[in-house]
C-alpha cells in the first residue's frame, strides 16, 4: 500500500452533496475531500470528471465472489448464512476472514441451528467472531414463538435480524407469483400476500420486543405499506430490494426463463411500481444485488426444478444508475441506498466519503454504455435475467482501504 493516494479532478459524492475536486487518502483513511493539496509522495489517479463514490456495501449475498464484487464496485459484502455453508461459529470466523484484503466479508449469523427454524443458533458466539447481524437464511421462520425469542435474544445483543419474509404455508411449492403469467405457463404460484403476511407478523413481534429487524427484500405494495406504517410509529425496521424487483415484473418469466426464477419471486407490474415509489420516498432503505450465482446445472432445467437466484453483483450499480437517470432519486441518495444505509444499519465501517472514514472508494463512469452479457460476466456464474440489456455506467476504479484493486 502506498502511504498516500489522491484521486483528483472528479465529482465527490458525499452525504452533503456533490463536491468538485478529489479525495486524499492517507494510511488507508480519507484525509481530505474537495480541493486537496497534493503532498510530494502521493500517487494520483485522475478521475477525469467522473464520480468519486463510496465503495458499495452489498447486504445479503449468498456467495463470496471476489471477481464479481471487484468489477461491481462492492468493497464490503454482508454474507447470508446458508445451509451447509455458513451456519456455525467456525464457518462465520472463516467467512469473515475470507475476502480480505480485497473485499471484506461481514457474515450474518444463522438465526437457528442448521437454519431449520426450530432452535436458536449460537448467535452470541458468532457475533464475537465477526457476525454483524442475524439472518433466517433463504427461508421463513414459521414458528412465531421461535421468531419472538430470536428477536428478543438478538435484540439484546444489539444485532439486527434479517428476515426472509414469505409465509411458508401460502408459498408452499410455488415457484412464482400468482398472476396471468403463472396461469398461462401452468407453474405453481403463490399469492403475493405471502410476503405481507410474513411482514405483518414480524412487525408485531418487533413491536413486542423492540428488537431491530431488516427485511432482506420487500417487493409488494402491501408489505411496503406495512413497513411505511411501522416506520411512522418509530419501530426499528429497515428493508431492502434488488434491481430485479425494481426493473422486472413476473412477465419476465414468459418462455420459462429460469434466470428470472428468483426468491422472492418477481411480482406484477403494480407491485413493481409501488417498489419504485418506495425507493423514491425513502421507505426502502437499501438496494442489494441478491448475488446468488447458479451455474447451468442449476438453471438449465425445467423452471420448477431450477434453483432460484441471480448473479447480481456486477450489474447492481449500472442498473441503479438508471434510477438517477430516470429522475427518481438523486445521486447522493443512490449512494446512501448502496453504501451509507447498509453501513449504518449493520454498524460497518465505510459507507460514506467523510474525513477519517476508511478509504473504500470508487471512480464511476456514470455514462459509459455497455451491454449485460451473461456469458461474459466475472461472477462464478452468469445467471442474470438482464442478459442482453444495454445499460449505462460502470466502475472505472475500485479502491479498498486506500489500495487500488481495479
Amino acid at each position: 500500500m502506498v502511504s498516500a493516494l489522491a484521486i483528483t479532478n472528479g465529482r465527490v459524492v458525499t452525504p452533503g452533496g456533490l463536491i468538485d475536486g478529489g479525495v486524499l487518502v492517507r494510511d488507508g483513511r480519507i484525509a481530505a475531500i474537495g480541493a486537496i493539496d497534493l503532498p510530494a509522495d502521493v500517487e494520483t489517479i485522475d478521475a477525469k470528471g467522473k464520480l468519486i463514490a463510496p465503495g458499495l456495501i452489498d447486504v445479503g449475498v449468498f456467495a463470496i465472489d471476489r471477481p464479481a464484487f471487484v468489477v461491481g464496485g462492492i468493497t464490503r459484502a454482508v454474507l447470508m448464512p446458508d445451509k451447509g455453508q455458513i451456519e456455525t461459529v467456525a464457518l462465520v470466523q472463516h467467512a469473515a476472514a475470507s475476502g480480505k484484503p480485497k473485499v471484506w466479508v461481514h457474515p450474518l449469523a444463522a438465526a437457528t441451528r442448521g437454519l431449520e427454524g426450530h432452535e436458536l443458533a449460537e448467535i452470541g458466539l458468532m457475533a464475537r467472531e465477526g457476525a454483524c447481524g442475524v439472518a433466517t437464511g433463504r427461508g421463513w421462520i414459521a414458528d412465531s414463538g421461535v421468531m419472538y425469542r430470536l428477536l428478543a435474544y438478538a435484540g439484546a445483543l444489539r444485532l439486527r435480524t434479517v428476515s426472509h419474509a414469505e409465509d411458508g404455508g401460502l408459498a408452499g411449492q410455488a415457484v412464482m407469483t400468482d398472476g396471468e403469467t403463472a396461469t398461462r405457463l401452468g407453474l405453481a404460484a403463490a399469492l403475493a400476500e405471502a410476503e405481507a403476511l410474513a411482514v405483518a407478523r414480524d412487525l408485531l413481534l418487533v413491536e413486542a420486543t423492540g428488537a431491530p429487524i431488516h427485511f432482506r427484500q420487500i417487493t409488494t405494495a402491501r408489505s411496503i405499506a406495512l413497513v411505511r406504517a411501522a416506520k411512522s410509529k418509530g419501530l426499528p425496521v429497515s428493508c431492502g430490494i434488488t434491481p430485479a424487483h425494481l426493473f422486472l415484473a413476473d412477465s419476465a418469466v414468459t418462455g420459462f426463463r429460469t434466470f428470472a426464477r428468483l426468491s422472492p419471486p418477481l411480482r406484477d407490474e403494480s407491485d413493481r411500481q409501488a417498489c419504485l415509489a418506495a425507493v423514491a420516498d425513502g421507505t426502502i432503505d437499501l438496494i442489494c444485488s441478491g448475488h446468488d450465482p447458479q451455474g447451468p446445472e442449476a438453471k438449465r432445467l425445467p423452471f420448477a426444478d431450477a434453483e432460484a437466484g441471480m448473479a447480481g453483483a456486477e450489474t447492481l450499480l449500472a442498473l441503479c444508475l438508471g434510477l438517477v437517470r430516470d429522475g427518481l432519486i438523486g445521486v447522493e441518495r443512490l449512494f446512501d441506498l448502496l453504501s451509507g444505509a447498509p453501513a449504518r444499519l449493520f454498524g460497518l465501517p465505510g459507507g460514506a466519503i467523510e474525513v477519517g472514514a476508511e478509504a473504500d472508494l470508487l471512480v464511476v463512469d456514470s455514462e459509459a454504455p455497455w451491454r449485460i452479457q451473461s456469458d461474459k460476466m466475472a461472477a462464478s456464474a452468469g445467471n442474470t435475467p438482464f442478459d442482453g440489456l444495454p445499460v449505462q455506467g460502470r466502475v472505472a476504479r475500485t479502491i479498498k482501504g486506500g489500495m487500488p484493486i481495479l
Binding site: D178, G179, E180, A182, T183, R184, L185, G186, L187, A188, A189, L191, G255, F256, E297, R300, L301, P302, F303, A304, D305
Partner: protein, 327 residues
C-alpha cells in the same frame, strides 16, 4: 413459440403452418389450428376403413419419449405413427437413464444424436418440452408438459366438437373441475377461445387459478350456474391425491357438488355434448350413466379423433423434412 419457417415459400400466400414444433396452442393463429383440424379429417376417413395404412412417413423414425406414465396418449401416438408408416420407438422413463440422474438436456442431446425425425414428449414439469425443443434439430411435439399444455388433446377436442356441432364459433363450452392442475384445460381454453367459443371454467375455488379470467374465460364456482345453457360440457379428471382434503374434502363431497349427473346436465343446452379427456373417475367427476350415454357423451369419439389429429400433426410437422413442395 417456434422459430420462423426456413423452408421455401413463394411468398404469395401465408404459410398454412409456419412452425417447426408443436409445443402448445399458445402461439398458433386461429387459421393454423383450423388447418390442422382440416388435415385430420382425411385420417378420420382412413381410420374408419379396413386398410388403415399410408406410408408417407416410411423410413422416418418417431421417438415417443414419455417421462411421465401414460397409456392412452402413448398408444395413440404409437398407432398414429405406425399408420403413417414411421418406425416408432417408445422410450419409457422406467427404462431410461433419467432415473440415473441424467439431465433433461443431456437426454435431449442423446435423442438428437440418434437422428430421430420427430420426437413426441411428455414430461411432468411445465416447460420441459420447450427446453428439449430448443436443443434438437427435429420437430418436437408436446404430448403434455406439467400443467402447461397438451396441444393434441385440445385439437382432438376441437375436432370432436366441430364434427358433432358443425361449428365451434359461438358455442358455450363449460370446462369443469380441476382447472388449476390441468394442461388439458389450458390448451383447450387457448384453442376454443381462438376459434370463437365462449369458454367458462367451473369448479371449486381451490381448483381454479385466481388469474384464470385473464385467459379470456368466465369463472364459475357454482356448478349449476356454470352449466346453464352450455353447448359443450367438458369434464376434467380429478387426481385421487387431491380429493383427500388438500383441495376438496372428499370424493363424495366433490361428486355431490361438482359431479356431472343426468339431473345436473338438464341445466345445459338440450343437445349439450359431454366430453372427458380420460381416464375417468366414474362416480366422482362424472356419473357412469352420463359417461355411457351415447346420445350425449362424445368420450369414445374423442379417443378416435385423437389418433386422426396426431396423424395430421406428424404429417404436417415432417413435411419440410420430407421435401414436400411448398414446405
Amino acid at each position: 413459440m417456434s422459430s420462423p419457417p426456413t423452408r421455401p415459400n413463394d411468398g404469395r400466400e401465408a404459410h398454412p403452418f409456419p412452425h417447426r414444433h408443436l409445443t402448445g396452442i399458445s402461439g398458433l393463429q386461429p387459421h393454423e389450428i383450423a388447418f390442422l383440424l382440416d388435415e385430420a379429417e382425411q385420417w378420420v376417413q382412413l381410420n374408419r376403413g379396413t386398410a388403415k395404412h399410408d406410408d408417407r412417413l416410411a423410413g422416418l423414425t418417431l421417438i415417443n419419449a414419455f417421462f411421465e406414465n401414460s397409456t392412452r396418449t402413448l398408444l395413440s401416438f404409437e398407432i398414429a405413427g405406425k399408420r403413417l408408416g414411421a418406425d416408432v420407438v417408445n422410450m419409457a422413463v422406467a427404462q431410461s437413464s433419467v432415473k440415473k440422474g441424467e439431465t433433461l438436456i443431456d437426454t435431449a442431446i442423446t435423442l438428437n444424436a440418434m437422428r430421430a425425425d420427430m420426437i413426441v414428449i411428455r414430461h411432468e414439469a411445465s416447460g420441459a418440452v420447450q427446453l428439449i425443443a430448443d436443443k434438437v434439430d427435429c420437430p418436437v411435439l408436446n404430448a403434455g408438459d406439467g400443467r402447461h399444455e397438451h396441444p393434441t388433446q385440445a385439437l382432438l377436442d376441437a375436432l370432436t366438437i366441430r364434427r358433432r356441432k358443425g361449428r365451434i364459433d359461438g358455442l358455450i363450452v363449460a370446462i369443469c373441475g380441476d382447472v388449476l392442475h390441468s394442461r388439458v384445460a389450458r390448451s383447450n381454453i387457448l384453442s376454443l377461445t381462438a376459434l370463437g367459443a365462449e369458454v367458462r371454467v367451473v369448479g371449486p375455488p381451490t381448483l381454479l387459478p385466481p388469474a384464470i379470467e385473464r385467459m379470456g374465460v368466465t369463472r364459475f364456482t357454482d356448478f349449476d350456474a356454470g352449466l346453464d345453457g352450455a353447448d359443450v360440457v367438458m369434464m376434467l379428471r380429478l387426481q385421487r391425491e387431491r380429493m383427500a382434503g388438500g383441495f376438496v374434502p372428499s370424493p363424495r363431497e366433490y361428486h355431490a357438488l361438482y359431479g356431472l349427473t343426468h339431473e345436473r346436465l338438464k341445466r345445459a343446452a338440450p343437445d349439450a355434448l359431454v366430453m372427458h379427456p380420460g381416464p375417468m373417475n366414474r362416480g366422482v367427476e362424472i356419473a357412469s350413466d352420463v359417461a355411457d350415454d351415447l346420445e350425449r357423451s362424445a368420450i369414445t369419439e374423442q379417443v378416435e379423433m385423437g389418433v386422426a389429429v396426431r396423424m395430421a400433426c406428424l404429417d404436417v410437422l415432417t413435411r419440410a423434412r420430407r421435401g414436400v413442395m411448398g414446405w
